[in-house]
Amino acid sequence: MKTMLIATALCAASLTAQADSTLIKQGEYLARAGDCVACHTAKGGKPFAGGLPMETPIGTVYSTNITPDASGIGHYSFEDFDQAVRHGVGKDGSTLYPAMPYPSYARVNDEDMRALYAYFMQGVEPVAQPNKATDIPWPLSMRWPLAIWRGLFAPEVKAWQASAAADPVVNRGAYLVEGLGHCGACHTPRALTMQEKALSPQDGEQFLAGSAPLEGWIAKSLRGDHKDGLGSWSEAQLVQFLKTGRSERSAVFGGMSDVVEHSMQYMSDADLTAIARYLKTLPASNPDDKPHVYDKQVAQALWNGDDSKPGASVYIDNCAACHRTDGHGYTRVFPALAGNPVVQTADATSLIHVVLAGGTVPATHTAPSNLTMPAFGWRLSDQEVADVVSFIRTSWGNQGGAVKAGEVAKLRTDDMKHTSGDDLGQVTTH
């Protein structure tokens, strides 16, 4: 005990002096891996100064200022910092809302915590910006139940144990995915009590099995299923996707765009390979899952001018120029729809959303083109969107289910209004 105290004191002493720049750099890299900036920066705000609103079932919480200013975490000791990041306990002793993924961060090792602390204390520009109170009404705003939640669902913080059997690359991947990467925060389904149903493969096959709709998007399964997981993706494709937001047959959209732009593109190829290799070890959820088998019937019918299948004519008029009548798209620029797992998820929210609102692939350092699919919500009715989405989900061998107009109507927000197309989209508000 005594030696530990001395060791901590020594560490603190060396940190109050200048942490060396390698440590700060390492911390910066790890902060990228954790994508801290994504939640701790408001739209148009200063990096890490907080203030981003986050919807929760009980009300809106705002991310906090984690810059080394007095209004942020400037007065945090390493222990305070560690308590918040890995244990979910703020400096005032209250429990953090689990929007902060401390159940995942619990796996981060001490060495990386030291680097993160060095970076946040010395590598980040201090910003004076007071934290915003939550919009959660009393009595739900009381924090003490959170402590119970934390006791029930947050894992014990202990040194992460590599699996002795696994290849070190896979172990590194597991450390990043289960830990700082906190992939499960979106990609693992949550229980009614809002905890992730599994925090690692050991917790069961719900781990990274795909989420319910979150801000209008499905965070799809990252397990080995071909239909709606990563079964059809190679390790190399996955690395390309994380690094550039695109692969031969896919393009990123929704919330994952920000993850690629702010986090994944900065990872080393070795770490991306580790993440990909680890994800590829996750087995399929569905024991009957089979690889996609391309069916050429629809492509042949379209080629022959037969657009009798519901949704076919909408597809030809709006989608086929880029995604082609055979559903294969064009390498790296326009994603394939045939066999694409994101169009075959049980819940079609993501595909409907993309058709309504379009999407932009983020510009990255190694793939700077922000290729954009325009929105089609303004010119397609709910029924037309449902028809074309159903057409895509059931053509070329795809095994997704049909979609009803009502599901489309539910997803339309004010910026996705149907204007009948009589204005040719020049004016989008009526």
């Binding site: 620029v333 510009a363 083109s369």
Partner: protein, 594 residues
């Protein structure tokens, strides 16, 4: 009083191809670069969103991507004896505005240059004698050779993702029987993408040209034949022959543009800034008049802003470069009477002839599809590929079927004699819309003493500055060449066995008509050369008079090419940028001693 901003290393006026290439090159060299674009920000999204962009009324008829002549235009007259009047409706040429400039609204025909056209005067004097060149014709050599430019043509094609078929690569024939052009100069590498597929009308032209003994080839096109990633990491989609290229933003990312091919890479670097809606009024010079200190512009809020810079790049449209030099006092204005001075001289254009062939209903031509740079051409009458001796004119024409799509408003052509409206027009339209082939002789245009640019003494723009005045008319050599080319082209058309043909060529003594579209390929006015008495720029596009001003663009061409100019504009800009990077930055000053 202008708001004076922090000094930057380089300021670039205009963000078309020349501006974008310079910005990329100079930021790679580590310079802090600001590009000022007079028009708005525009990009594939949202301006090129499908299907909104497929709108001929908005884009072609109402000229969405072109300059607003109510704010700024040119005045035009045919000769020094006339009074110039403002061009109040765009017609003969269509200067762009906004980010991407002409590089956003162009078609995509992407040629290099015929080597003899870079040494036009020397070549003609050597082959035909000095007396062959008319006395008032002021053609000159560029001062740079094809061999010197070849690496830059090569790199520009890789940036543009150009589709085409090489004839020779490093001296070895690779394109025989595959659509290569036997008249094309040697290349150091093949085109980055294979040639695009040919449409029916191009195949008809190919067959007819072959039957007459000519050598048809695939047009090199900056419309992609497949998906492509360029050396900057920028991506292009494949062209789908929608037929909305010239005058439009390409929704498929398949037509090369500064916006698609260069800007994405520039957005990733911290030492570059693009300011749209920044209308540059002038380049500022210090008291010595030998050194530029930056530029003054009007920003989007109408405020006057001064941007100091060590290096000024004028990369605006051809005549705007010339105008800015005149407004800023860079170089001596040209005097056509004394044939002295350099800024405004050698203003040249393009010399187009068109022939249309109309067929029976059993010959389908599917004119509604096409791509701006796609087609089949012959070079048998281009450059100096035939003996000009017996014909007595200077210059040549490539000829082609370049089916770029027949859009529903302006794309409808009927046989000669058809009324322009009414039931007879409707019937002819129904009969011929998909049964016709249009072909062009895209002629070179020479420079003359009488065709020049200066500042108008009367008319001013919205900012109170004098408009540029064009003094321009067709000369005897132009008419002779045009008639010769149109005659040859008509014979190719006849060889297709059409029902009828329409010939649109120039008549003797015909004057320049500002209302009828020809091309936007305006050249010269701030030309490069080897003698400061007859050129405004040295061979590196550096002003002889103010050495920290470089002026890339077709304004540097001493005369108009047979081919389309963009390929040479891009290569010369890379060439100039290389000289700045490797010579000028190490030792700022004149790169050529006068």
């Amino acid at each position: 009083m202008a708001n004076v901003l922090k000094k930057v290393d380089a300021v670039i006026v205009g963000f078309g191809w020349a501006g974008a290439i310079m910005a990329k090159e100079l930021t790679e060299a580590g310079l802090q670069v600001v590009a000022l674009e007079r028009g708005p920000m525009q990009d594939t999204y949202p301006e090129g969103s499908y299907p909104q962009v497929i709108d001929e009324l908005t884009y072609s008829v109402r000229k969405k991507l072109f300059v607003d002549v109510s704010k700024e235009t040119v005045t035009i007259r045919h000769s020094v004896n006339d009074v110039a009047l403002p061009n109040r409706q765009l017609g003969a040429f269509l200067p762009g505005k906004g980010v991407g400039g002409a590089g956003l609204h162009w078609s995509g025909v992407h040629f290099r240059v015929d080597p003899i056209e870079l040494r036009m005067r020397s070549h003609y004097e050597e082959r035909y004698g000095k007396a062959f060149i008319p006395e008032d014709m002021t053609i000159q050599d560029f001062g740079v050779t094809y061999q010197e430019l070849e690496p830059y043509f090569d790199f520009a094609e890789k940036v543009f993702g150009t589709s085409g078929q090489a004839w020779t690569v490093n001296g070895t024939v690779v394109g025989a029987g595959k659509g290569g052009n036997p008249y094309a100069a040697d290349r150091s590498s093949p085109f980055p993408l294979p040639a695009q597929k040919n449409v029916v009308s191009a195949k008809l032209f190919e067959k007819a040209a072959t039957s007459l003994g000519y050598k048809p080839y695939n047009l090199p096109s900056a419309n992609t034949s497949g998906p492509y990633t360029n050396p900057y990491g920028a991506q292009m989609g494949p062209c789908n022959f929608c037929g909305f290229c010239s005058g439009y933003v390409c929704y498929m990312y398949s037509k090369a543009s500064p916006n698609v091919n260069i800007l994405p890479a520039l957005r990733q670097v911290p030492n570059f800034e693009l300011r749209a809606n920044a209308h540059v009024l002038r380049v500022n010079l210090d008291d010595s008049k030998r050194n530029a200190t930056g530029v003054t512009y009007i920003d989007a809020q109408g405020r006057e802003v001064e941007q100091p810079a060590d290096l000024v790049i004028l990369a605006a449209f051809q005549f705007n470069n010339v105008r800015l030099m005149l407004l800023s006092g860079i170089g001596k204005p040209y005097d056509p009477v004394k044939n002295e001075g350099v800024v405004g001289r050698n203003f040249a254009y393009q010399n187009m002839g068109t022939v249309k062939a109309f067929f029976d209903k059993d010959t389908y031509t599917n004119n509604f599809i096409g791509a701006g740079g796609n087609g089949i051409a012959i070079d048998d009458f281009n450059a100096d590929n035939f003996d000009h001796g017996p014909y007595g004119f200077v210059g040549g024409s490539p000829m082609w079927v370049n089916q770029a799509g027949s859009r529903p408003i302006a794309g409808i052509a009927n046989p000669p004699g058809t009324p322009a409206w009414g039931s007879a027009w409707k019937k002819a339209t129904a009969d011929y819309y998909t049964h016709q082939v249009s072909m062009d002789a895209h002629g070179a245009h020479q420079s003359y003493r009488g065709n020049y640019l200066d500042l108008d003494p009367t008319y001013r723009d919205a900012f109170g500055q004098p408009l540029l005045r064009m003094t321009f008319d067709w000369q005897e050599n132009d008419i002779k060449m045009n008639q010769f080319m149109v005659d040859k082209l008509s014979k190719v058309a006849q060889a297709m066995n059409p029902k009828s043909i329409a010939v649109l060529g120039k008549k003797v003594k015909e004057h320049f008509n500002t209302a009828s579209y020809q091309t936007t390929h305006l050249n010269g006015g701030a030309i490069m050369g080897t003698d400061p008495k007859t050129s405004a720029l040295n061979r590196y596009l550096q002003s002889w008079d103010v050495p920290n001003v470089f002026v890339p663009g077709a304004s540097a061409f001493p005369q108009g090419l047979g081919y389309n100019p963009t390929g040479l504009v891009a290569a010369l800009t890379y060439w100039s940028a290389r000289a700045i990077r490797e010579q000028y930055l190490k030792n700022p000053g004149p790169l050529v001693q006068a």
